[in-house]
């Protein structure tokens, strides 16, 4: 049996290293959000649902949104509206939080980051009597659920 082609051997080694590095970085990645939404408007209570890459589903109501509510009431074109927000658990004890259908007491510290919208400068899409503005965003944070209201001990969901 002859020796393998040195060029092919070199390629196989490079490929093996590439796959190993890729697999290692994927294993070290944080849990990614692959679905869900965070919504609020002037009427209904805010809605929150996140589906993670590990298959967990988080849902919450009555959470706290830290948003500088620029232009909540009337304002003129030229105003920049920040749409980055922070999300934390509500201090209201009636808050509802579920992880995979189980009610839990959460510790949340989540941040959504996006560029501001400048009314008049940004081109919005007409939507009936409203105009919609779209922005890509990134999301990062911690979300932990505890079975006890004092939120200590081993978390049952993260």
């Amino acid at each position: 049996m002859g020796a393998p082609c040195p060029g092919l051997l070199r390629l196989v080694i490079v490929l093996a290293i590439t796959v190993q590095v890729s697999a290692t970085s994927a294993a070290a990645d944080p849990v990614r959000i692959v679905g869900g939404s965070v919504s609020f408007d002037t009427g209904d209570p805010p809605a929150f649902s996140l589906l993670t890459s590990s298959g967990q589903l988080f849902e919450a109501e009555a959470f706290r949104l830290d948003w500088p509510a620029t232009c909540f009431f009337q304002c003129s074109p030229g105003v920049a509206i920040p749409i980055s927000i922070g999300i934390t658990e509500s201090e209201d004890l009636s808050m509802v939080f579920r992880a995979d259908g189980v009610d839990l007491f959460p510790v949340m510290d989540l941040v959504i980051s996006a560029q501001s919208v400048t009314l008049g400068s940004d081109i919005g899409m007409p939507n009936g009597p409203s105009v919609d503005f779209l922005r890509p965003f990134t999301f990062a944070g911690q979300l932990t659920g505890y079975t006890s209201p004092d939120r200590i001990g081993t978390p049952s969901s993260t």
Binding site: L11, S37, V38, S39, I83, L119, L134
Partner: protein, 57 residues
């Protein structure tokens, strides 16, 4: 640590040239992440093509 990305939709009511807040929605989208198996498949194909070109120039 949770991370994600998506598209935000800010809806503003428009009346007589003035705006007011209607709603703000953040919809999460899965990030396309190459799987190791996909990388292996693409890499193997590239290696075979490269070898064939060397053997049969």
């Amino acid at each position: 640590m949770l991370t994600g990305s998506g598209t935000a939709r800010l809806s503003m009511a428009l009346e007589d040239g003035r705006y007011s807040f209607s709603s703000l929605d953040y919809n999460f989208q899965p990030d396309p992440v190459p799987e190791p198996a996909t990388l292996l498949l693409v890499g193997s194909g590239a290696a075979l093509l490269w070898r064939r070109r060397k053997v049969h120039p």
